[in-house]
């Protein structure tokens, strides 16, 4: 049964994750009930499920949004103890769980807000600190836990709308079996949430935030919000799992939620595979079943039972897995798929089966997209072009006054005032180290700066990345800043000016509308890519592009954002003559559509042929502004470039 290349689908709505989820859940049921598991094994099975849920939460925190956190176990503890307290106070069971999750969310929010600027090891230690504080407070706060040492028993059991899932009067086997269904259903829901997030803009934006927060911010991603919501979501899932665990077992003790579990959850995610929602399932299986398997081995080595060494063997296996599968156990499946994929050439041999297993390369975006026919640029941009013409004397769209940036004692930019007129290309040249890039960094908020900055009459606050994006100023970077973990088209999608329904909640409750928007955005991005000639590479990972192609990708990303002003930092660096000429063509087209451009470059012929005006910087000062021929005859400019002859 062959299939033709069907309608192209945006990256976020490809594949058949729901079918996979159903298959997975069915498989888990088979695994649980097909072999006759002993009571001990049933217990381990349930632990596997609950750890998986916790780790999926951690996947949102660390895998998707890159926050090096060790707080998952502590949030599980908060959930467990808060909901047990609430049930002891007489609250309904489900309400109590919700209350526990809410309290965890509150703590997570406060923490994430306080630590929103910390990264890597700083965040790691901050979360470890938070875990220790939570652990000590709960262990010592006897009035809250109702027990000295916080080892509480007789926690209200799970009861869902009259169905008593667990009870102290049931036998252990019955409890284990019923709890299995509760845990599995919860896991299904949590996985569904994960799938929804992956099938929306939220995951892509979180990855952009994770890999390069400052760049993501200048592209318009609300980085702080993405970061904090992801942390809260992950912690809430952890708290939910924790409180289910406590109620499912009927008891809780601080040791269950120790730092050991926090590190364990970290291990589970990494061993399973950090880049995949299915990674936690494999990782938790490894974490739970390997020690259990070793425990039940009856082998004698050097007069010792081998299970005495189970921890050592476990540690060694962990080491070996990390050495051979650095991408985690899920990497086995990925390698397998890559192996099979070699035989399935795009278009040929494509069946519904290869589609299902994700073996077929996605249809590239270059093909015309029937239902979406977008003009090359936003209508309002074109309107601007029509009203203002190519250049209008004096009307400045971007005004920077007295911009100053210092690094320690060095004044990198020392009082630069520069206007960019509506619909012009302004060249900014100067020797290396004269402060051109720093000036751009100052305007886009990447470095702290002082002075006044105004775009189309609107004042813009300096020092915060993203403010300039909000008024339509886009930029490219001296070293191209593209996202290696995203495909080109996704990279372009990051900068979209249409940010409606890109949040997490929208991805859950407003799916049809989210998807419709996503298709439109996809069309815009594909057009932008085609404009710079990268259409055929749309589905390639951005990391595989050459240096020059990355520059063009950055340009496409800026175009897709429908900018009013474009700041380009050495766009021609690394391009050959033909590519440079094509680039000049793209830039002229943009000007014709009403975009004003500021271009920093060292290729003077490129600048002279392209720009309406040229500004020259030296040692942090603006030396001259004017039309190219005049500026380059000015003695100060000659001195700045060639140096002053000593006499």
């Amino acid at each position: 049964m062959r299939r033709d290349a069907g309608t192209p689908r945006p990256p976020a709505v490809r594949g058949y994750p729901y079918a996979w989820l159903v298959i997975f859940l069915g498989f888990m049921v088979l695994l649980r009930f097909a072999p006759n598991l002993s009571a001990a094994q049933a217990l381990v099975f349930n632990t596997w499920l609950i750890y998986t849920i916790m780790t999926v939460g951690f996947y949102f925190v660390f895998g998707v949004s890159g926050q090096f956190a060790f707080s998952q176990a502590a949030f599980a503890m908060v959930g467990a103890y808060t909901s047990s307290w609430a049930t002891r106070e007489g609250t309904d069971w489900l309400l109590a769980v919700a209350f526990g999750v809410a309290v965890a969310c509150l703590i997570a929010f406060l923490f994430a807000f306080v630590a929103r600027k910390s990264n890597l090891f700083f965040l790691a230690i901050a979360t470890l600190a938070l875990s220790e504080i939570i652990d000590v407070v709960i262990s010592q706060w006897n009035q809250f836990t109702g027990q000295i040492g916080a080892e509480i028993g007789h926690i209200h059991t799970i009861e869902i709308f009259g169905w008593k899932a667990t009870s102290f009067s049931y036998s252990a086997a019955v409890n284990q079996r019923n709890v299995f269904w509760v845990y599995l259903a919860t896991l299904g829901v949590v996985m569904l949430i994960g799938i929804w997030i992956a099938r929306s803009a939220a995951k892509r934006e979180a990855i952009a935030m994770r890999d390069e927060p400052a760049v993501a911010a200048t592209l318009g991603v609300p980085t702080a919000r993405v970061r904090i919501t992801m942390f809260i979501l992950g912690s809430a899932v952890g708290a939910f799992a924790g409180s289910l665990w406590a109620h499912g077992r009927g008891f809780a003790q601080p040791d269950d939620f120790s730092v050991e579990l926090a590190l364990g959850i970290f291990v589970m995610l990494i061993v399973g595979g950090i880049d995949s929602l299915w990674g936690p399932v494999l990782g938790a299986a490894f974490y739970v079943w390997v020690p259990h398997g070793l425990q039940s081995l009856h082998l004698e080595v050097f007069g010792h039972q081998i299970r005495e060494y189970k921890q050592i063997i476990y540690g060694v296996v962990l080491l070996v897995v990390m050495i051979f599968f650095p991408e985690g156990l899920i990497g086995i499946f990925h390698r397998l798929r890559a192996f099979v994929q070699r035989d399935v050439v795009k278009g040929r041999g494509r069946t519904w089966l290869t589609d299902f297993f994700g073996l077929t390369k996605p249809t590239i975006a270059e093909q015309p997209i029937p239902e979406v026919e977008l003009p090359p640029l936003a209508p309002e941009a074109q309107a601007r072009a029509a009203v203002n013409g190519a250049t209008v004397e004096g009307a400045a769209v971007l005004r920077a006054a007295d911009i100053r940036v210092s690094f320690g004692g060095v004044r990198a930019v020392d009082g630069v005032s520069l206007d960019l007129r509506d619909g012009e290309i302004l060249g900014l040249v100067g020797p290396n180290g004269s402060g051109k890039t720093t000036f751009l960094n100052a305007l886009t908020g990447v470095v702290p700066a002082s002075g006044a900055f105004e775009v189309a009459g609107q004042p813009v606050k300096l020092g915060t990345p993203g403010r300039s994006r909000a008024v339509g100023v886009l930029r490219t970077y001296q070293a191209p800043q593209t996202y290696d973990h995203l495909s080109c088209i996704e990279d372009v999608l990051i900068s979209t000016s249409d940010r409606k329904l890109t949040g997490i909640t929208a991805s859950w409750f407003l799916r049809p509308w989210t998807l419709r928007r996503e298709r439109v955005r996809w069309g815009t991005a594909a057009t932008a890519l085609s404009r710079v000639g990268l259409g055929p590479l749309a589905e390639e990972p951005a990391g595989r592009l050459t240096y020059g192609q990355r520059r063009l990708l950055e340009l496409a990303r800026s175009i897709a954002a429908q900018p009013r002003v474009l700041l380009l930092d050495e766009p021609s660096a690394g391009l050959d003559l033909g590519e440079t000429q094509r680039l000049a063509g793209y830039l002229r087209d943009l000007r014709a559509e009403g975009v004003s451009l500021l271009v920093i470059d060292h290729k003077l012929d490129f600048i002279i042929s392209l720009c309406d005006r040229v500004a020259v910087m030296e040692l942090g000062h603006l030396v001259a502004v004017g039309d190219a021929a005049t500026v380059f005859e000015d003695q100060r400019v000659v001195d700045a470039y060639l140096g002053v002859e000593e006499s």
Partner: protein
């Protein structure tokens, strides 16, 4: 040539958010006033505590500085590996435990240790430290070298695996019973009445301030002195030797350093060795003060990590300062100053204090006290 060259001046229509230098100074001074007030209040609080119970104050001061010194040693070990390899070694805590146990194994005279060597104190501890160095090198070969260049979290997992192996091997070899180390100043050691030390304790007598009998355990004095020596030596190592220069080069830019001929391999082995030695030293120093078991190192690892973070993962001085700050917070602030105002119940939550301090620091300075963001776009 229609256009005139103009020296660009600020457009008058645009309002500048004005004299940057002065407004900056004004804002800074406001912050400074606030900080000064906080500091003055804190010192006043400390003085009140001193007047309230001088004996306790001095004892806790000594304990705080000593415990801070141990934390600083652990943190220096962290820093060493961090600089040379760019990763955090999560086995550091179990290396502290291992050091203490190796010291016990080498010097135990009572036959409690399995296969004990029964060496004299000084020699035994030196043997333990030498073994620690070798173990550090082995860890580098087994757990780090195959993973070099991989992502940080993968290496972190490898160090966690090493921690598990060390801990389990120790449990099988020496068992989990509480142990204690000998010191020269404890009963049973050799230098019992050394100089002004009396029965293993230093007595401080400042009569006119009402401090009559403040007691600082001599082992704590030893800890402080040894730490001072170690810190100076490490600073010398980093600043003056070829090893230090190369490590700094690697810390700044791995690839370039390698291309310039820095032997990255040998350097990372060396730094793992030294770091492991430092961890062992911390274990041996703390051993005589408390009974310890397999969990000895974990808290020290957390606190050492915290100290390194306070120092911004770069400055040695900052790290030591961070360590002492943490030690003082735990002992002096938590032991005396806080209960003065919050009542005796506050003692229960005392162990959270260093971590509260951490969170406060992270909130104010997201990259630590001496940290800098150097990434250029």
């Amino acid at each position: 040539m229609t256009q005139q060259i103009t020296r660009e001046t600020a457009t008058p229509a645009l309002e500048t958010s004005e004299p940057t230098e002065e407004s900056k100074r004004a804002r800074w001074s406001r912050a400074r006033i606030a900080w000064t007030l906080v500091a003055v209040g804190f010192i006043a609080w400390a003085i009140a505590a001193f007047i309230d119970d001088g004996t306790l104050f001095v004892a806790l001061l000594g304990a705080g500085i000593a415990s801070g010194a141990i934390i600083a040693i652990v943190a220096l070990g962290f820093l060493m590996i961090m600089k040379a390899t760019g990763i955090a070694n999560f086995a550091q805590g179990d290396l502290v435990t291992l050091g203490a146990f190796l010291g016990f194994w080498a010097t135990d005279q009572l036959g409690l240790a399995k296969d004990g060597l029964g060496l004299s104190l000084g020699f035994g501890y030196l043997v333990a430290l030498a073994i620690m160095f070798v173990i550090g090198v082995v860890i580098e070969r087994v757990a780090y070298a195959p993973l070099r260049g991989r992502e940080i979290h993968v290496v972190v997992i490898a160090t966690l695996a090493v921690a598990i192996v060390i801990r389990t091997l120790l449990a099988i070899w020496q068992g989990g019973d509480p142990r204690s180390l000998q010191s020269w100043f404890n009963p049973g050691g050799s230098l019992q009445n050394f100089l002004f030390f009396d029965q293993g304790v230093l007595r401080i007598n400042i009569g006119f301030l009402g401090v009559h009998d403040a007691v600082i355990n001599a082992q704590r004095v030893v800890i402080i002195v040894v730490t001072a020596v170690v810190v100076v030596a490490t600073m010398w190592l980093f600043a003056r030797t070829s090893f230090g220069r190369q490590v700094r080069a690697i810390a700044a830019d791995r690839e370039t350093a390698r291309l310039c001929g820095v032997k990255v391999n040998r350097l990372s082995m060396l730094s793992f060795g030294i770091s492991s030695c430092l961890a062992g030293l911390a274990g041996i120093l703390i051993g005589p003060l408390q009974a310890f078991d397999l969990n000895l190192g974990f808290t020290f690892m957390l606190l050492g990590f915290a100290a390194a973070v306070l120092g911004g993962f770069g400055s040695l001085g900052g790290t030591v300062l961070g360590g002492v700050l943490i030690g003082l917070t735990q002992e002096l602030f938590g032991g005396q100053m806080l209960p003065m105002v919050a009542g005796h119940d506050a003692l229960k939550y005392r162990s959270t204090l260093p971590f509260v301090l951490m969170l406060v620091v992270i909130a104010i300075k997201p990259q630590g006290f001496f940290g800098r963001v150097t990434r250029r776009l």
